[in-house]
Amino acid sequence: MKQLFAFIRKEFYHVFRDKRTLLILFGFPVVQIILFGFALSSEVKNIGIAILDNAHDVHSEQIISRINTSAYFQVKAPARGYKDIERRFKEGDIKCALVFPAGFGSDLYKTGGAQVQIIADASDPNTATTLTNYLNSIISNYQQELNPTAKLSYRIVPEMRALYNEEQNGSLNFIPGVIALIFMIVSTALTSVAVVREKELGTMEILLVSPFRPIMVLIAKAVPYLVLSLIDFIIILVLAVFLLNVEIKGSLVLIFAESILFIITCLSLGLLISNVTASQQAAMLMSMMGMMLPTLLLTGFMFPLENMPKPFQVASHIVPSKYYYSIIKAVMLKGLGFSYVWKETLILAGMATGLLFVALKNFKIRLS
C-alpha cells in the first residue's frame, strides 16, 4: 500500500513538472468550453440589420422599434438604397436587410395588404433561415396586435415550446459532448502515454525487475488520472454553470457516479492502448484517431446520428462516449433519474469491466 502511494505521488510529480501535460489537462477544457460556448455558437444574437425605410410612417417606425428591442437584432445605420445594402452585405456589416416600400402604411389600410421585403445573407443558410423566421414572427405579431378582433376564418396558430431548454441556450447541447471529449483526452490519451513513457525511458525494465507487482503499475498509473479527470470535470461544470448559465437539473451525485464509470472505461481503454504500443507517439496517435474522432463524430453531439448512413449508426453502438453523452444529457439537462438511464449505465459498466479485464490480462510482465 505504501508502495502504491509512493508510486502515485511520483505520478503527480510527472504531471506537475511537465508544462505540456498541464496545458492539456487544465488549458484544454477551459479553451474548449470558451470556444464552444462563445465562438462556435450556433445561436443567433445581435445580428446586424439595415433598414431601408421608404415609407416613414407610423407602422414602419413601429416595426423598426420592435426589431430594435429584440435581442436577436442590432439595427445599424439606415440604408440609403439598394446599392448601399449590397455594399454593406459585402463588407459584412449586416446579415440581413428589411425594405419598406413607399406608402407601406397607406397600402395596409387601403388595399388591406402591404408588402415588405426581407433580404438575408444566405451564405450561411442556417442563420439566414433563422433570421427570416425571427423577422417574420416580429412582423406577424405586430399585425395581430393591430387588429386583434379580426377573425380570419380557419386560422391555425402554432404554439411553440423548446422543452428542457426554454431559452434555447446552445451551451446545453455541447457541454456533455465536451465533457466526454475531455475524458477521452485526459483519461485515455494521457494515461496511455504515461505508461508507454516508462517503456520508452527504460524505467519499465527496472519496475518489472522489482518486488512491485506489475499490475500495480497499471493501477498506480490509473489513479492519478482518475483524480485529474474528476478535477477537470468539476472545472467544466463550474464554467458551465457560472459562465454559460447552464442549469444542472438532475442529481449531482448521479452525474458524478456516471462520470466515474465513464472515466474508468476511458482509463481501461488507455491502459489497453499502452499495452499494444511501444512509443509515446504511437499511443497518442492511436488515442486520437481511434478514440477522439469517433467521440466527435459518432456520439451525436456534433452531427445527429439519425442522419448518418446505416454503417455509421451501427458503428456508433461500440463508442462508449455515445452512452455517456446520452446519460449526461438526460440527467443534467432533463433532470431524469437513474431509472431512465440504467440501460446505458449497464452497457457502460459492461464495457468498462470488459476493457479493464482485457487490459490487465494483456499487461506484459516481460519485455516482448
Binding site: 508502495q3 509512493a6 525511458l201 527504460g202 527496472i206 522489482s210 512491485f212
Partner: protein, 303 residues
C-alpha cells in the same frame, strides 16, 4: 551452489542468433564480467537472467531459482541496472532514490551503509533533477537505486558506457567495495581494459562465448610471443607485414602494430628482418605482454 547458472541458452531474433548456446556459472561473491563488443548479445543475456526475456531454449537459474518459473522470487532478490540511463529525468536525486527504495519495500535509512560511499558523492546535488546530471553522476545514482534494496545478485549492463575515464575508474572502485560486502555481481562492458578488474570474465562475440576464465589465465593462455612494432609510416608497415608469409596476424593497436609470427620461437630480430625497408628511421619493435583485447582478437579470428 553457484549464484548464477546458465546452461545452453539460445535466443534468436528472427534470423539473428543473439545468444548462441551460452553456458557459464557465477560463484557467490564473485565479480563476473561479460566482455564483448556492441551487439555481442550481452544485453539479451542480462534480460534473460533478470527474467525480462524468455530464452528460446536452455535453462538459467539465479540463486537456484529458475528464471522462467520462479521469476517473481528472482525479481525480489536481484538488482538490475539497465544499459541505458533508466531513472526518472524529471525527479530529483532524492526523489528517485526515495521512490525506488519505497517500491522495493525498504527505506534509504535501512540500507544506507550499503550506498553510503556512492551516495555521499552525489548528495550535494540532492535537489537536482536526474536529467540535469552528468554522465558519471547518473551512473552513481542508478547504482544507488539498484542497490537500495540490498540485492543478493547485482546485474550491471554496461554501467560505464558513455562515462569519462575518471568516473569509470571510480565506478569500478565502488564495485570493488561492494564485492567486499559479499554481493555477487555480473557486469558487462565493451571496454577490454576493464576486464582485468573482474574476478572472472567471459569473452563473448556474436552470441557465442569464446573463453571463460580469470583475466590472468586468459592472458597466460596466449600461445605465442606478441610483438609491438611501429615506424614513421605505420600504415605502410601494416600493409607490408601482412604480406609477409612468416607473419601470422598483424593489426593496429593504439600507436603500435601488434603481431604474432608463425614460428613460435621467433624474437624481435625476426620481426625487424621482416619489416625490411621500414627498419630504418623511427622503427621500433619489442615483445609485449598481451592484453585482454589481444586475446579477444586472437579468439575472435580463431587462429
Amino acid at each position: 551452489m553457484s549464484s548464477v547458472s546458465v546452461k545452453n541458452i539460445v535466443k534468436t531474433y528472427g534470423e539473428v542468433r543473439a545468444v548462441d548456446d551460452v553456458s557459464f556459472e557465477v560463484q557467490k561473491g564473485e565479480l563476473f564480467g561479460l566482455i564483448g563488443p556492441d551487439g555481442a548479445g550481452k544485453t539479451s543475456l542480462f534480460r534473460i537472467l533478470t527474467t525480462l526475456l524468455l530464452a528460446d531454449s536452455g535453462t538459467a537459474t539465479v540463486k537456484g531459482l529458475d528464471v522462467v518459473k520462479d521469476y517473481r522470487a528472482i525479481r525480489n532478490k536481484v538488482g538490475y541496472m539497465p544499459g541505458r540511463f533508466s531513472l526518472y529525468q524529471d525527479l530529483t536525486i532524492e526523489e528517485n532514490l526515495t521512490f525506488f527504495a519505497t517500491v522495493f519495500g525498504t527505506t534509504i535509512a535501512e540500507n544506507y551503509d550499503l550506498i553510503k560511499d556512492i551516495y555521499e558523492q552525489i548528495r550535494p546535488f540532492n535537489n537536482r533533477r536526474a536529467g540535469k546530471l552528468s554522465g558519471g553522476m547518473k551512473q552513481k545514482l542508478a547504482l544507488c537505486c539498484a542497490l537500495i534494496h540490498k540485492p543478493e545478485v547485482l546485474f550491471l549492463d554496461e554501467p560505464t558506457t558513455g562515462v569519462d575515464v575518471v568516473s569509470r575508474k571510480e565506478f569500478w572502485e565502488m564495485l570493488g567495495q561492494l564485492k567486499k560486502q559479499g554481493i555477487t555481481m555480473v557486469v558487462s562492458t565493451p571496454y577490454m581494459d576493464e576486464a582485468t578488474l573482474c574476478d572472472r570474465i567471459a569473452l563473448i562475440q556474436s552470441g557465442k562465448i569464446l573463453s571463460i576464465d580469470t583475466p590472468d589465465a586468459i592472458i597466460q593462455n596466449f600461445p605465442k610471443p606478441l610483438f609491438a612494432a611501429k615506424s614513421n609510416h605505420i600504415y605502410e608497415l601494416l600493409k607490408d607485414l601482412r604480406k609477409e608469409p612468416g607473419v601470422e596476424n598483424c593489426y593496429a593497436f593504439g600507436e603500435y602494430l601488434h603481431l604474432t609470427l608463425r614460428s613460435p620461437e621467433a624474437d624481435a630480430m625476426s620481426v625487424m628482418k621482416m619489416a625490411g625497408r621500414h627498419s630504418g628511421e623511427g622503427f621500433e619493435v619489442k615483445m609485449v605482454t598481451p592484453t585482454i583485447e589481444d586475446c579477444f582478437i586472437r579468439l575472435m579470428e580463431k587462429i
